[in-house]
């Protein structure tokens, strides 16, 4: 299970399509191993008081870094949804049901999806940049020499923090979307706020909520795994750190889209 950092380097320069595909699979494999190892190290996060402190620090960083953006995005997504859906529904005199539309779409998709994108951009990028800088400065090597497993010391607390914070942030963004939708319903479509809220709350479904939060959890794991892997396999100095950061964000975005669809497909069948 345990591997040295060296095996994260991509030694060969990609020349043929075959080698590229081979490299892709090996990177996916390493990322999976890295994540699984970090999950196996969670008990240590609970037992050791320094590790616990580091977990709290990371949770704080994740929350604080993304909170303003999640707040704004949550509000505006709700507002846009209410406006678009409301205009359409008004044609059939059904604008009183906007609440249901906003609630269901944020719980099922928008909450976790937007949180995933925001976490990729705000948190994933800085994880890749920080760990990448540590890699090119030999700080990871220094940890290894001191027999401090970088996966335990760096990856595990970040992963734990993300797994806790991503669902919380997704839930928070759902709440704000519903509130934002309510504001638009009241001001643009003259639906009374309480009526809107009642219909929204009535249409909230526990299954939708759990699937949405589960998706956010999966996004948290993916983003952390991808960003830490990109950080750890950084080579070639400052240029490499830039490349690792960009790579981490791009791959995380794509994964949020693709895996998000797959999870949805798993829980909602026609």
């Amino acid at each position: 299970m345990r591997f040295t950092r060296e095996c994260l380097y991509a030694d060969c320069e990609e020349t043929s399509l075959y080698q590229l595909i081979q490299q892709l699979f090996s990177i996916v494999g390493r990322g999976t191993l890295l994540t699984v190892e970090a999950i196996f190290l969670f008990p240590y996060q609970v037992v050791n008081h320094r590790a616990r402190k580091e977990f709290l620090r990371q949770a704080y960083v994740v929350g604080i870094k993304s909170l303003p953006v999640v707040t704004l995005v949550g509000l505006f997504i709700g507002m846009v949804l209410a406006l678009q859906v409301g205009l359409e529904m008004r044609r059939f005199n059904q604008e009183y049901y906007i609440g249901a539309g906003v609630m269901i779409s944020s719980l099922r998709e928008m909450g976790s999806f937007m949180t995933g994108l925001i976490l990729s951009a705000c948190v994933g990028s800085s994880m890749a940049a920080q760990i990448g800088t540590m890699t090119v400065n030999d700080e990871i090597a220094a940890l290894e020499i001191m027999s401090i497993n970088p996966v335990r010391y760096l990856v595990a607390p970040r992963l734990a923090a993300m797994m806790v914070m991503a669902p919380l942030l997704a839930f928070y963004s759902c709440v704000l979307s519903v509130v934002g939708g309510g504001i638009v319903a009241k001001t643009q479509l003259s639906v009374p706020f309480m009526t809107y809220m009642k219909i929204a709350v009535d249409s909230a479904d526990r299954y939708d909520l759990f699937v949405g939060l589960f998706k956010a959890l999966i996004f948290g794991v993916l983003i952390t795994g991808i960003s830490c892997l990109e950080g750890l396999r950084t080579t070639q100095g400052a240029v490499g750190v830039g490349r690792a950061t960009r790579q981490a964000v791009v791959v995380s975005f794509l994964m949020v889209l693709v895996v998000g669809y797959m999870v949805t497909r798993m829980f909602y069948t026609l």
Binding site: E13, I145, S147
Partner: protein, 266 residues
């Protein structure tokens, strides 16, 4: 103590080390010189398996580190202190916490004991008043000295120094040379020093070798080394104004700046 057996390392399609065989004895100061990018850091990293040879084997104290895993590798690594080229301090911790890290993570000792040993170590490198500062608040030379304090804190048997004096002012550089010499002379610590600074190397080393195009040229005593005729070695010596007949006399006074026990070569 440390043995390279026909080690070849290919990085990015380039042969950085080419069939290197080398033995470093217990208790000696072995200095590696060479131009930038010649693979000196790569050589050091092989000793503690931060890099694995493409071909060949590396042994430390009878353990084949190039194939060791898990507990065995950890045991081998615990023999070492490693001063990285840039210091490699963790940016979010103070100098004190950085130096304390190996003790806190590895040894079950009281916080008072940790503090005592950290202060001792910081004093050795002349940073006893800078423990509370963060790595980005101190100069590159101070970061390097803090890295040295961290490398010696757990009392290793072997210390690997990657350019310990580059970027330091000449007086501090001689102090560090003297410290390397003292750790070796008083505690018998085997030392592998990578440096560009031949003046210092000639003063403290037992043997010097130059890395040229992936191969080590003439590991030999300083006296023999400065008389070398190999064109690359000669160019390196001439660039630092070291004539084959040496500069006896001047050296002793230089080392006396930093050390109470200047070593007499000759």
């Amino acid at each position: 103590m440390i043995r390279f057996e026909q080690v070849t390392k290919i990085l990015g399609g380039q042969k950085i080390l080419d069939d290197v065989s080398l033995t470093i004895e217990k208790g000696e100061i072995f200095t590696i010189i060479g131009s930038s990018g010649s693979g000196k850091s790569v050589t050091l990293k092989h000793i503690v398996r931060l890099l694995t040879p493409t071909h060949g084997k590396v042994f430390v104290d009878g353990i084949e580190v190039s194939a060791a895993e898990g507990a065995e590798l950890e045991k081998a690594r615990s023999l070492f202190g490693y001063l990285f080229q840039g210091g490699a301090l963790l940016g979010w911790m103070s100098v004190f916490d950085n130096v304390a890290l190996p003790l806190r993570e590895r040894e079950r000792i009281s916080e008072a004991e940790v503090e005592k040993r950290v202060m001792e170590s910081l004093k050795m490198v002349g940073l006893e008043n800078d423990g509370h500062k963060f790595p980005n608040e101190i100069s590159g030379g101070m970061q390097k000295r803090a890295g040295l304090a961290r490398a010696i804190i757990h009392r290793p048997q072997i210390i690997l120094y990657d350019e310990p004096t580059s970027g330091l002012d000449p007086v501090t550089a001689r102090t560090i040379d003297a410290l390397i010499h003292r750790l070796n002379a008083e505690l018998g610590i085997t030392s592998v020093v990578v440096t560009h600074d031949l003046q210092g190397a000639v003063l403290i080393s037992d043997r010097i070798a130059m890395l040229v195009r992936g191969k080590f040229v003439e590991p030999s005593t300083p006296e023999a080394f400065i008389k070398a005729t190999h064109p690359d070695v000669r160019a390196f010596l001439d660039a630092q104004f070291i004539p084959p007949e040496g500069m006896a006399g001047q050296w002793q006074s230089a080392v006396a700046v930093g050390s109470k026990t200047p070593r007499t070569k000759e």
